[in-house]
Amino acid sequence: MDTHGHDRISDLPDHILGRILSLMPAKAATQTTILSRRWRDLWEYIWCSPTTLDFTAEFAAQQTSHEYVRNVNRYLKLHRGKKIHRFLVSLAPDRRFFWDVKQWLEFAAARDVEEISADFTKAQVCLMSVYPFTMPTQLFDCLRLRVLRLRYWLLPLPLPGLRQTPLTHVPVACRTEATGIKIGNIWQSLHLEISAPSLRSLHFFGVILFPAISFGDVTGLVDAAICATDNPFNAPQVNYIRLLSEVAHVEILTVRSYTLMSVAASLPEPGQVPLPLPNLRELQLLMNLAMEPLSYICDFFKLFHLPSLERLFVNLPSLPHEEYTSLGERSSAVAHFNRLKVIKMHNFKEFVSEMRLVRFLLQRTPVLELLLLVVRPELMFVRKQDLQRRMLALPRISPAAQIVVCEYLEDDYAKLRATHEQMCEWDNGSHTSYYNDFVDAQD
């Protein structure tokens, strides 16, 4: 073994040295190629059968798109495994490489991949494709696929040249057995059609620019969070009314200011019947903008009929002063909520508009059991006890209704959480942790 008098390891067979390398990060393992001639090709072992193929982060950091694509192709050729759990790529959406990307996705699909992340974070304005990229159909037949992350980002913000950017249609049809899909931060025109009968959970979040989203068969969908931020430069582009009507059977729904504004912008014709959301038990409204809550909420309730609603969560904007402009009286035509038992409002500040919302709800909830007003001490100018007393004096049609004022996470009421409460945290700015939580939760 000792050709040089002190070689301590090279007498071990290739497969053992390869095994050591495959336990190291890819970068460090690849560097061993220059140790000595004996080690020149041993790095190939690391690509033989890994179940996580992560071509992001360090791997993607310094390479040009050409090098990136060449290396991924080279490494995938070495793969002999039959199974991949995770497949992660990150590159610019350049048409020249679409054929390769398609091959990769087919490669992953053929190995029963469970998680795919196609992250076009590296997109530059000038590189944005003007050609469609079609997902390989094999991907949609992937029974094990549980997580499909598509991220088309344009960074950094703001993007002064955005309007001149040639935006185009990137048709993505998504037919999967996935049980949860989250799609966020899509900075490209995207025609997304989701057809997945076993899909239970669907979240849109982040910035989604001009997406044309439609649903095929989503009969299994139980909870949906439609929390996208629209194009900050334009009026809302997404037709949320159509979008919501396509998922009208959900039981749990979270919507955000933009959705409410979009809905408010398209009030029904006189005499039009509200669209029923017949199964909806829980509704969370994230009002992150300076908007007058009652008007927008009333408009939402006029357009959508919620006969089964039991729990309502309202996340009011955390503004120090009342800055809402009222849209005028709109509450007259809203029906009663005959099953609504629990209402929880975050960031309650006793603003005039917020009081109007509370009064409105107390007058339309015959079986209300609990109205929980969560205050933030830094936004409060009165004592909690005084506020509680004033609130208790409000007229209500449910005699049994309790009204409780409490501080954030103060007591047992912290247990009363919306299913999509994470969305609320995300809404308050910690979207990264939300996104990471999502990724972790799927593992």
Partner: protein, 203 residues
Amino acid sequence: MSSGDSGPSSSKQLVQQPAAAGRSPNQPPLLGAGGRKVIVLKSGDEEEFEVDLLDAMQSRTLRRAIEDGCGDGPMPLPNLTGPVLAKVVELFRRHRGDPRWADELQETEKEGMFKDYAPQKPTAEVKGFDREFVSVDRDALFDLLRAANFLEAPGLLDVTCDAAADAVMNMTVEEVREYFGLVNDYTPEEEAALRKQHEWAFQ
């Protein structure tokens, strides 16, 4: 050997110690403290170790030898030293029921020899033992790696390969060469070409 199968449960642990010398080569396997079958392994420096027959099965090499009927006398393992073999035997005992080799064991289950060897996930204790096991100097680690290779013992191989990978993954190329005792036999041009070929890894 009938008492072997009717012995107390596997919780009874065998104490490792050099075996009594002077047994005839044709003597049947010893019965250990728990009435279990044991075999004797003999290191290159003539040190003998009793090891539970079932524990020894973690090594494909030993299993083949046992199945070929070589387990009746002390089994010579000339390329393993006493200290290395002592450590390996201890690891086999601690890895009893380790799922990393339980699958293989199932194949030989037919004979009913292994019925008290229910596979189990490695406990925190086993993991702690594994960490301690490889807290040795460089040369001792390489000796253990060689033993793992020779014995074809998956659990031992996992533990030692992990340790070797941990040791070098944050080193520079020069440090890895030094650690493994390698001499760079590339010409500068060849090395430059390789760096170019794997550019992303050298940035």
